[in-house]
């Protein structure tokens, strides 16, 4: 009974948070000077026709009304229509979200695949040259802007060697091979920076773990160093890294915006940028809302996973409700 009520309370708090978030987003977005009427009419329009169009489009109605309309629509699964094209916003966002989703997920996955072994190596060999080199490389990886890395990758692998397409995107359903080939470079550029950041966390998590008493215990009962790292180190370090992963997600979305730009991926980022420029506010506010909500939700999920994976936190969660 109490479990249910705690969950309900948490969900309620989460919903309230989202509501406040939506209000903030709406305010910020609607404070943007300039509006879509100007975009539609272009540089050859005159001021009076812009004003006329504003009225026609209802842009001069009071903001609380527009907010309620938007949030009401969102709750019923309808985010309104693009002010520019008149397409339903969600229909517009859907396919883009898939692209960004692939990019972020694969980028994160690749980053983890790179970062975990490298981070472990950097931690275990931190007093040796190779460990220092790994750590140094990760520092360097963090210092290079992602778009620069992306551009260099394009020059080498797409333009010089012609191994991979320079940019663009093919839908998975249309052509899986092409889809994969188009995603390689963007995912790699995103992962380079992300993994560099992760390596640091993995490294320090492992250094922490190696200094823990239980690690010494593990060795004292007869585990070899390497086995102790795998049996006891990985478990505990991954718990630490897991919490970081959730937080990294926000930065990953940002990284995705830039990477989408470099590789002309039709993702949320490029849609957001152009919508901001053109003040297609229904699109902008919905994208921002989706991104923030996604980050919050995924953080919540990561938190939950961390709780389930860590018996201490798990006990906390169940006992709080029991």
């Amino acid at each position: 009974m109490r479990v249910a009520s705690t969950i309900a309370r948490e969900l309620l708090i989460f919903a309230a948070t989202l509501l406040v978030t939506s209000l903030i987003i709406f305010m910020v977005v609607n404070l943007l000077p300039g509006d879509v009427a100007g975009t539609i009419l272009g540089p050859n329009a005159d001021a009076s026709s812009i004003a006329a169009l504003r009225t026609t489009m209802g842009l001069d109605r009071p903001w609380p009304l527009r907010y309620l309309e938007w949030i009401g629509g969102l709750l019923t699964g309808d985010a309104g229509r693009s002010a520019l094209s008149g397409q339903p916003v969600l229909a517009l966002i859907g396919p883009k979200l898939a692209v960004t989703g692939w990019l972020v997920t694969l980028g994160m996955a690749l980053a983890i695949v790179i970062a975990v072994p490298v981070g472990i190596a950097a931690a275990l060999r931190r007093k040796h040259l190779d460990g220092l080199i790994w750590a140094g490389l990760s520092q360097l990886g963090m210092a290079v802007p992602a778009f620069l890395a992306g551009m260099l990758l394009v020059v080498v692998f797409a333009v010089q060697l012609s191994w991979l397409p320079a940019n663009g995107y093919v839908r998975l359903a249309e052509d899986p091979g092409g889809w994969a080939r188009h995603l390689v470079l963007p995912v790699v550029s995103l992962a380079i920076v992300q993994s560099a950041v992760l390596v640091r966390y993995v490294r320090s998590a492992f250094i922490d773990v190696l200094g823990e008493d239980y690690f010494r215990t593990a060795r004292a009962v007869g585990w070899r160093f390497g086995s102790a790292v795998l049996r006891h180190g990985l478990r505990n370090a991954s718990l630490q890294v897991l919490t970081v992963l959730g937080l990294q997600l926000a930065t990953l979305f940002v990284g995705a915006i830039v990477i989408e730009n470099v590789f002309v991926l039709p993702g949320l980022g490029s849609l957001l940028l152009s919508s901001v420029n053109q003040r297609d506010l229904p699109v902008v506010q919905t994208i921002v809302m989706i991104q923030v909500a996604l980050v919050l939700v995924i953080n919540g999920v990561v938190d939950l996973v961390a709780r389930l994976a860590d018996p201490r936190l798990r006990a906390e969660a169940t006992e709080a409700g029991a």
Partner: protein, 483 residues
């Protein structure tokens, strides 16, 4: 790119992929100003009664022929009898009337288009094959605008969904659109005229010019419709793979002055700025030398073009003395507010340095384009100088509108434009020349240069127009050596 539609025995699918920079955000060119809509759809999906060729002459399209009454107050068009919409519906005089009346009467259509067709009093359809336009007053520019976006003939039954699903009579039909990403057309199998060779044509949009170039290099594109980074043209110098077309557009890059500011009421200041800027060098650094120096608001493809680029040749000393005369010897500070467009920001860099040499301090800031720039500069007039390309055809007439963002109010100029529009047709060129000269000598703005029409195409393709004379990227004339 041409892909085999399977193993050898099957027919090849010929498909054309065109890279473009600005992506359309809506698809109805009559309600949204974005040139990108017409770029993809005009002449390809949509057709007009007539068309302007590369030399500025009118060619028949949906109208087989036309006549003008001697008083200039009515035009009679004989329509192409075979013409029909892609849906199969008949394209007759009443369909044309619906489209033209919509521009004039529907409140949602663009004011610019309305003003272009403002001379039309009423449209008559004596029989399905004949269309008569009755004018309020003679208009020498009307045929030109009828050949452009304003004159598009839309399928009457599809008017309400044009923003999502264009419907016209061209050799291509609209197939799919992914906002910001691509727009694809497929061959209109039942086209009434000469069909296209291509089964499919796709416009792909690139916000980043480098990405666009890279895509052509790596074979993802067949054509770049307009190279945004001329500096990178070197990539395509291999003539066995690519052909580079370097023609003209209609887009005058204008450094506009805000004439409502007292400082620009003084012609000496305007002249000084014109003298201070070395436009040949500017063209070289900003556009790698591609483009034209024009000196006024007329592209070379207009019949009344003359080269006015030497009206104010680079002369910084003269600029300084003019400024001193105008009382700015102790210095002058001006706000240059440019849109976030590559050529505009690059030109701003050059201009800032050049004006600094003659004692004008320029503070540059960049405004989001389009929304923010339009709001600040056009609507609010909150600027001293700005730089933007005016791509619309015959936009010199804008200088006759004192409400327009330059706030240039020159009655003599306004009178000339009025005369050119409504006077005898054979005097138009002469009057327009005078008007263009007047703008130039009055230093109404600094007409920096005309954007080049830099098109890179795969070497086997041909038929792409060198000079751009409309908003359209006309696919109908393109063909390949290989098929």
């Amino acid at each position: 790119s041409s892909k085999d539609g399977g193993s050898g025995s099957q027919a090849q699918v010929h498909d054309l992929v065109v890279g473009a920079t600005a992506a359309p955000d809506a698809l109805d060119p009559s309600t949204n100003t974005a040139a990108a809509i017409s770029q993809a759809l005009l002449y390809n999906v949509y057709e007009t009664l007539l068309k302007v060729d590369g030399k500025g002459a009118y060619q028949p399209l949906l109208a087989k022929s036309w006549t003008e009454s001697p008083d200039g107050l009515s035009y009679t068009f004989t329509l192409e009898p075979n013409a029909r919409f892609a849906s199969g519906a008949a394209l007759d005089a009443s369909a044309v009337k619906t489209s033209l009346d919509r521009i004039g009467q529907d409140p949602t259509t663009l004011a610019t288009l309305k003003s272009q067709l403002a001379a039309i009093d009423r449209v008559e359809t004596p029989d399905p094959g004949t269309l008569v336009l009755r004018l309020k007053h003679p208009d020498n520019f009307l045929l030109y605008f009828l050949a452009q976006t304003a004159g598009i003939v839309y399928e009457p039954s599809a008017l309400s969904t044009l923003n999502q699903k264009p419907a016209g009579s061209g050799p291509f039909v609209f197939s799919a659109w992914s906002q910001g990403e691509s727009l694809s057309l497929v061959r209109n199998a039942s086209y009434w005229g000469t069909p296209t060779k291509f089964d499919k044509a796709t416009f792909k949009y690139y916000a980043d010019p480098n990405a666009e170039n890279a895509a052509l290099s790596s074979g993802d594109l067949d054509i770049i419709s307009n190279v945004q980074a001329p500096q990178a043209l070197g990539q395509f110098k291999d003539t066995s793979r690519f052909t580079i077309l370097d023609g003209t557009t209609m887009s005058e890059v204008v450094m506009g002055f805000n004439h409502s500011r007292p400082v620009f009421g003084d012609i000496r200041v305007r002249r000084a700025i014109n003298y201070a800027i070395n436009r040949p060098e500017l063209l070289q650094t900003v556009a790698d030398g591609h483009g034209r120096l024009i000196g006024s608001m007329v592209p070379p493809t207009d019949p009344w073009y003359e080269d006015l680029s030497n009206t104010y040749s680079f002369d910084p000393d003269k600029a300084r003395s003019l400024l001193a005369e105008a009382g700015h010897s102790s210095g002058l500070t001006l706000a240059l507010r440019v849109p976030t467009l590559p050529y505009a920001t690059a030109a701003a860099t050059f201009v800032t340095s050049a004006l600094k040499d003659v004692g004008i301090t320029v503070t540059v800031d960049q405004l989001d384009f389009p929304a923010r720039w339009i709001d600040e500069v056009m609507t609010k007039g909150n600027y001293d100088m700005t730089i933007i390309g005016h791509a619309e055809g015959r936009d010199i007439v804008k200088w006759a509108d004192p409400q327009y963002y330059w706030h240039y109010d020159n009655p003599a100029f306004q009178k000339l434009i009025q005369q050119a529009q409504t006077g005898p047709a054979d005097e138009v060129n002469g009057i327009m020349k005078k008007a263009a000269e007047m703008l130039a000598t009055d230093a109404a703005a600094d007409f920096l240069y005309l954007l080049a029409n830099l098109v890179v195409i795969r070497a086997d393709l041909s038929g792409v127009a060198e000079n751009l004379t409309s908003d359209s990227f006309d696919l109908t004339t393109i063909s390949s050596k290989d098929f």
